[in-house]
């Protein structure tokens, strides 16, 4: 349940950032797919149920916040979350380059799904720009890698601090 709480907190933070970006810099809000990044980072641990649930929750929030059709991003995020979780069960995702690649592929799959659903279901006229899709995938991947690097550094720092504190107690 702690992981669910962490995910809920992260989702709330992402939603807040999206709303603020949408108000201040509307163009920047579409550059990085923060909701998809959150879903992929959650699914990287390899739990397919967490991938599905996280995808549904993040997608529903994204559908509510953006002017898109209710259910569009939810379905796409669910598929991405499940696929990334299944992939993570088979490959080593603790290597940052692999994780980065998985994030980039996940974002591209999400984009293709959203565009595909809009086209197949004849909901809206879409004119997909390959460059935009690729740059979004790259930037989201870079943001994901930056997060993973920062999280790794923080974890190392916390371990070092705990070790130093233990040494100090022992020396006393």
């Amino acid at each position: 349940m702690a992981s669910a709480g962490r995910f809920a907190g992260a989702l709330a933070a992402v939603a807040l950032v999206e709303v603020l970006l949408g108000e201040v810099l509307p163009a920047a809000a579409n550059v990085v797919e923060l909701f998809v990044l959150l879903v992929i980072l959650t699914s990287l641990r390899g739990n397919s149920l967490h991938g599905l649930t996280g995808g549904l929750a993040a997608g529903l929030v994204q559908d509510t916040l953006t002017a898109s059709l209710f259910g569009l991003h939810s379905l796409a995020c669910c598929v991405v979350g499940y696929a990334v979780a299944r992939a993570s069960q088979r490959i080593l995702t603790n290597q940052r380059m692999v994780a980065g690649l998985l994030i980039a592929v996940g974002v591209m799959v999400h984009q293709v799904l959203v565009i595909g659903l809009l086209t197949v279901l004849d909901i809206a006229d879409v004119d997909p720009d390959v460059l935009v899709v690729l740059s979004r995938a790259l930037l989201t991947s870079a943001a994901g890698l930056a997060y993973l690097w920062l999280a790794g550094r923080l974890r190392e720092w916390a371990v070092r601090r705990r070790t130093l504190a233990a040494r100090r107690v022992r020396s006393k």
Binding site: M1, L60, T64, L72, S74, L75, C78, L121, I123
Partner: protein, 358 residues
């Protein structure tokens, strides 16, 4: 995922079959482009939601039922301030585009909390408050939904509460108190919550011929649609009542009238058989549930869905006053479809955990 292979697929199969029938009816009654594609998207998402609800352990949901309920009620309260208006009711939450209806989410949250509380009431040390707290848990969302105003949605909590308390076992005195409270609630809703058009609809139920072009219009047109279907119906896309826009909302609340008009008695029998298969399987799952909370959870969800089916079909043929109550799996609507699929998934989840030791 492997565990899902042990589940009886009749429940999910009947739900999917009903959804497909609904899709055909919506495509037949389609007045504006895009309804079928949206409903298809929601059915696909509904299948995913069903899968998630089946895989999540219901005991975990019951453990955190109070928090789920609090979030749902807060979302419902938020509708009062940020809600979008749709069909005369302030029930859609969304900042950019159209979002879901939190009242549908609140139904599951309420059933979860009621199931937990009523199951605890059978323990050696029952929780405090007795029946009053149980009624209050149900009354809070009912009042919020009625305030939107969505009378139909609020009304559907009554069969769920009644069925769950009846299964738990209540004394005659408590039952009489509950009936009295329900009557007081109805009187309160009539005086404080109901809009004039809703009161007219209720009054037109008693005298549908009094105002055939006003408050009695919908029920009159609906009866014509149902009656004109006869034994085999007029055929796909041939329903004049829906095509010529005599029926006001043929794709949502009056989808059953479209079914009766285009597929006649045969189509109605088939759909009713599918509903019976669905509800029968639900009862089987309830009887095989491993604990009282599971039994109560299935009973509550089934009572909700059965209430919707009974009220909608009775409303369409003029046996009950017209209010915005959709037909599960058949009517057009995203969050209602997700509610139905989540309820089905929870029941499947209970079914696959029936042999698991606590």
């Amino acid at each position: 995922m492997r565990r899902l292979r042990t589940v009886s697929w009749q429940l999910a199969g009947s739900a999917l079959a009903l959804s497909m029938v609904g899709l055909v009816l919506i495509s037949s009654a389609e007045l504006t482009a895009g309804y079928v594609s949206r409903q298809s998207l929601w059915i696909a998402l509904g299948v995913v939601v069903m899968l998630i609800a089946a895989l999540v352990d219901y005991t975990v949901l019951l453990r955190y039922a109070i928090w789920i309920y609090v979030v749902a009620v807060l979302a419902l309260a938020a509708v009062t301030f940020f809600g979008h208006e749709a069909g005369g009711a302030r029930s859609w939450i969304g900042i950019g585009g159209l979002g879901g209806q939190p009242s549908d989410f609140c139904k599951i949250a309420t059933v979860l909390l009621l199931a937990r509380r009523l199951a605890d009431s059978q323990a050696p040390v029952p929780p405090r408050g007795g029946l009053w707290v149980t009624v209050a848990i149900c009354a809070l969302p009912v009042l919020l939904i009625a305030r939107q105003p969505d009378l139909g949605g609020a009304l559907m909590f009554v069969p769920a509460l009644a069925a769950m308390t009846a299964v738990t076992g209540v004394s005659l005195r408590s039952a009489l108190v509950a009936v009295g409270a329900a009557l007081a609630l109805v009187a309160g809703l009539w005086v404080f919550a109901l809009q004039d058009y809703q009161k007219e609809r209720v009054l037109s139920y008693f005298q549908p011929q009094a105002d055939p072009l006003g408050s009695g219009y919908q029920v009159r047109q609906s009866r014509i649609a149902v009656g004109s279907g006869q034994a085999l119906g007029k055929g796909y896309g041939e329903g004049t009542q829906s095509k010529l826009r005599f029926l006001p909302t043929p794709h949502t609340d009056f989808v059953f009238a479209v079914l009766a008009e285009e597929y006649g008695f045969a189509g109605v029998t088939l759909v009713m058989a599918l509903f019976l298969l669905y509800l029968g399987n639900g009862v089987r799952i309830a009887l095989a549930a491993r604990d009282p909370a599971g039994l109560l959870l299935v009973v509550g969800l089934l009572a909700f869905l059965a209430g919707y089916v009974l009220y909608n079909t009775a409303m369409v043929v003029g046996l009950l006053p017209i209010t915005g109550i959709p037909l599960p799996f058949l009517s057009y609507g995203g969050s209602f479809m997700l509610f139905c699929c989540a309820a089905t998934g929870l029941m499947i989840g209970l079914d696959l955990r029936r042999f698991v030791n606590i």
